[in-house]
Symmetry: C3
Subunit: 245 residues, 3 copies
């Protein structure tokens, strides 16, 4: 295989974000895309990452291959990418070879690792509420309510999406209304609670997409989807917090 | 009551500065101004804060009220203020309601707290020496002499104001002379020592006023006053350090 | 003596860099230059610093003098230098007087200290390989390979200079080729290993010179030289790491 990426942030940002949730991951390098599905060690959050072959300058994969990588190591190499570098990925001698080509040529070899963990599958989920909005709006709202508590409630109703938190007799809430950039659809008034700690890691994906789709149901997992057509997709699934958590 | 502030730094910066000295404080919300007087837990420093009604876009207070607030909580809310937000303060259900209005509307509720501490009064003080200067000059001088010691001497004499420190056979001094921006008045050669740790917290008030008035006498408290006409006033009073401290 | 320096970074940056290697040092103030030679406490690295009289606005030394200075203290004073300040050095009452002259005049006195340590001499060394390159290229390469190990190998051969590291089945390497800005000369294929921790401190000298000369031989000390003609010179000598280190 030989993969050459010019828009290097499409791999640099996701690996940094995924590494906040898991330390090692299995990447499936297929003929048309790279795919990774991982569950965090506490079994609370799942992250799905797809980077399409069409995002690459050169994408040549002869047969599907599955490789385990230590993400902390991978992230450290990716931090060394400079603005105008091209990034090349190859498999050589059972190692991942990463070449950064700019003013100079730098090569890194990372060992492939065995992953005991069984292969993850994305669960089939159906949601009552769907909100689409600029990803910055979700980021701001999470950071606003973070002040008062460790969990946040997402509440969708007719023409209103409310992100709120309360604790120690403090309360915070952000009200988001539909406009040309924001759509809010819900079958019924829907409310559910999620961990702010996890959400803060996931919303970093605003770096790869200026929009986010937020899907949830009452006391049911949350799904956040960030994507750029023909390039990249990151999906996060987060277990709900029950009342009293 | 309903108070709407557009120039939000007039409350954001002072609360951050006051919180460096005390953790909780009582605010008197009067018909023409908000006032707070607090003593630090070590009884070494007093801070007085007045924010005039005329600084607000809307200032409506029906009757004077006195409320206790946890400043760390308040500061965290104020950190969420964005550049173009308006900030609204109300009292609702025995809570302080803070509304930030910008692209979105965010509301925060903070509990009012009971303060055992008796009401503070600003002591009447008379000073021999008075220096007025750009607040940045005082900041620089404190940071210059901080290198060599934990306490600093302020010394005023005819046409000269000297900020100096010494310790461990190291010495540092800054000499400030009167000019069109700096005035130095003293009845006699006057020298007194103060804690640099406290001063460093107080000089943060340079963020609300580009000038400071420095008043002191020999082995007597120091008074620093920062103000903007018709808007805001912050006064700090700091106990002296005796020789040998 | 009275020394006045306008290009203050010529003393500010070197003192910060030297202080990363040693805590106290002896400066010889001679009629034409200031010179300092110091060995780090672990006897692994030597640093030589020369600041020429011609770099100063005023350089007046009546007789050679040797003074011991605590570099942490000196560095803290130098941090207070502002962009347009002049810096004046004098010896008064067995102290080093440092005057910073800008909008205000600030004076600092630091004690001279006794140094037990015997006077250091720069060893005579002969090298097989010599590389000259922009100092930023060496910095980047060291930071690239730092990811995978604690020591780095420098390898010069015909028309190629390779900086590489390996450890824990990870590898990194940077290949540098001669061009109009880079010259690589070696008598034979030459390779040697050095500590990255020390190198990272030394390459900070890129702040005083945009070029560096790199000299080494197999299992032999490394010499890095940074200089600006008629102004300043910093030389670092670093003991090799043996294979297996």
């Amino acid at each position: 295989m030989k993969l050459v990426l010019s828009e290097t942030k499409l791999i640099k940002e996701p690996i940094t974000i995924i590494n906040d949730l898991v330390n090692e991951a299995r990447f499936k390098i297929k003929k048309d895309s790279i795919e990774m599905i991982a569950m965090d060690p506490a079994n609370v959050a799942m992250v799905v990452f797809r980077l399409l072959g069409s995002a690459f300058v050169e994408y040549s994969v002869k047969e599907d291959v599955s490789i385990g990588i230590n993400l902390t190591d991978f992230k450290q190499v990716l931090r060394r990418v400079k603005a105008n570098d091209n990034l090349m990925l190859e498999l050589i001698d059972n190692k991942l070879k990463i070449t950064l080509q700019g003013a100079s040529v730098r090569t890194f070899f990372l060992p492939l690792i065995e992953l005991d963990e069984k292969e993850q599958k994305v669960p089939e989920l159906k949601f009552k509420a769907t909100v689409r909005c600029p990803s910055g709006i979700l980021n701001d709202a999470i950071e606003d309510v973070e002040i008062v508590a460790e969990s946040v409630s997402f509440q969708a109703e007719d023409k209103k999406f409310i992100i709120a938190a309360s604790g120690d007799s403090k309360k915070a809430s952000v009200e988001i209304k539909p406009d040309e950039f924001i759509s809010i659809k819900t079958e019924e008034k829907t409310k559910s609670k999620y961990s702010i700690e996890y959400l803060k890691k996931m919303i970093q994906a605003s770096k790869i997409s200026s929009n986010v789709e937020i899907l949830f149901s009452k006391d049911y997992p949350l799904k956040l989807e960030y994507k750029e057509i023909d390039k990249i997709q990151m999906i996060f699934i987060l277990a709900p917090r029950m009342e009293g958590d």
